[in-house]
């Protein structure tokens, strides 16, 4: 698998070019690109979309966990131990 330059970086953000949308000839930046390169760009975009979805799901799960009773108890315990 070739390196995907649109992929999510260590900050959890895809390349700014990802925000242009799924590559197509109607997007000025991709107007002159060759057919095969356009297909590759679409492949990279779709792969990144999967990564973005997976990252959003992970974030939602973590936020859900953070609201749980156990997490609140752990935070309370930590707060007490620091106060002590």
């Amino acid at each position: 698998m070739a390196f995907n330059p649109l992929r999510i970086d260590s900050n959890g953000e895809p390349s700014p070019a990802y925000r242009l949308g799924r590559p197509s000839r109607s997007i000025p930046a991709y107007k002159e690109v060759s057919d095969e390169a356009l297909a590759i760009l679409q492949e990279w975009h779709d792969e990144t979309t999967e990564q973005v979805k997976a990252a959003a799901e992970r974030k939602a799960r973590l936020e859900e966990l953070d609201k749980s009773e156990e997490a609140q108890q752990a935070r309370e315990q930590m707060r007490r131990s620091i106060a002590w």
Binding site: P16, V33, E36
Partner: protein, 151 residues
């Protein structure tokens, strides 16, 4: 009346919007953070957002140029790979066809006639090669005196 806001006042707001205009909305009075600020502050924040938006668009276009260059390079790499694969396949086919061509030629066949039947001959030759390979492998797996078979 037009308010002229010094660039330094605009720059003071920039950190909130730089590379974030896709996530952070342009400041307005309906935004709670700007509901009660002086007109001048809101205007400075709006100028800062507009400038950040312009910079973001440039950044995006620049990133897209880089991504396009990489996609073209990848397309060239894949085309080269396909070419190499086709050459390898052609060489393997030529090797498979060689005995059939010699037999056809010695029976009085012409190169032109051979070209016409080549696809069928190639298919038969591939099938024969696959059958030979499979029967050879099966033969090696058979237990023989002195060994218990290969697997």
């Amino acid at each position: 009346m037009t308010i002229t806001i010094p660039q330094s006042e605009i720059d003071a707001h920039k950190h909130k919007f730089t590379l974030k205009t896709h996530k952070v909305k342009r400041p307005t009075r309906s935004d709670p953070a700007y509901a009660n600020v002086p007109d001048r502050t809101l205007a400075a924040a709006q100028f800062a957002w507009d400038e950040a938006k312009e910079a973001d668009a440039k950044h995006q276009a620049f990133a897209a140029e880089g991504v396009v260059r990489r996609a073209e390079a990848e397309a060239a790499r894949r085309a080269q790979q396909r070419e190499q694969d086709a050459q390898r396949q052609a060489a393997a086919d030529a090797k498979l066809l060689e005995p059939a061509w010699r037999a056809f030629q010695s029976a009085g066949g012409t190169a032109e006639a051979f070209e016409k039947i080549k696809p069928q001959v190639l298919e038969a030759a591939r099938l024969k090669a696959a059958t030979d390979a499979a029967s050879g492998a099966a033969d090696q797996m058979q237990p023989k005196p002195g060994n218990l078979g290969r697997f």
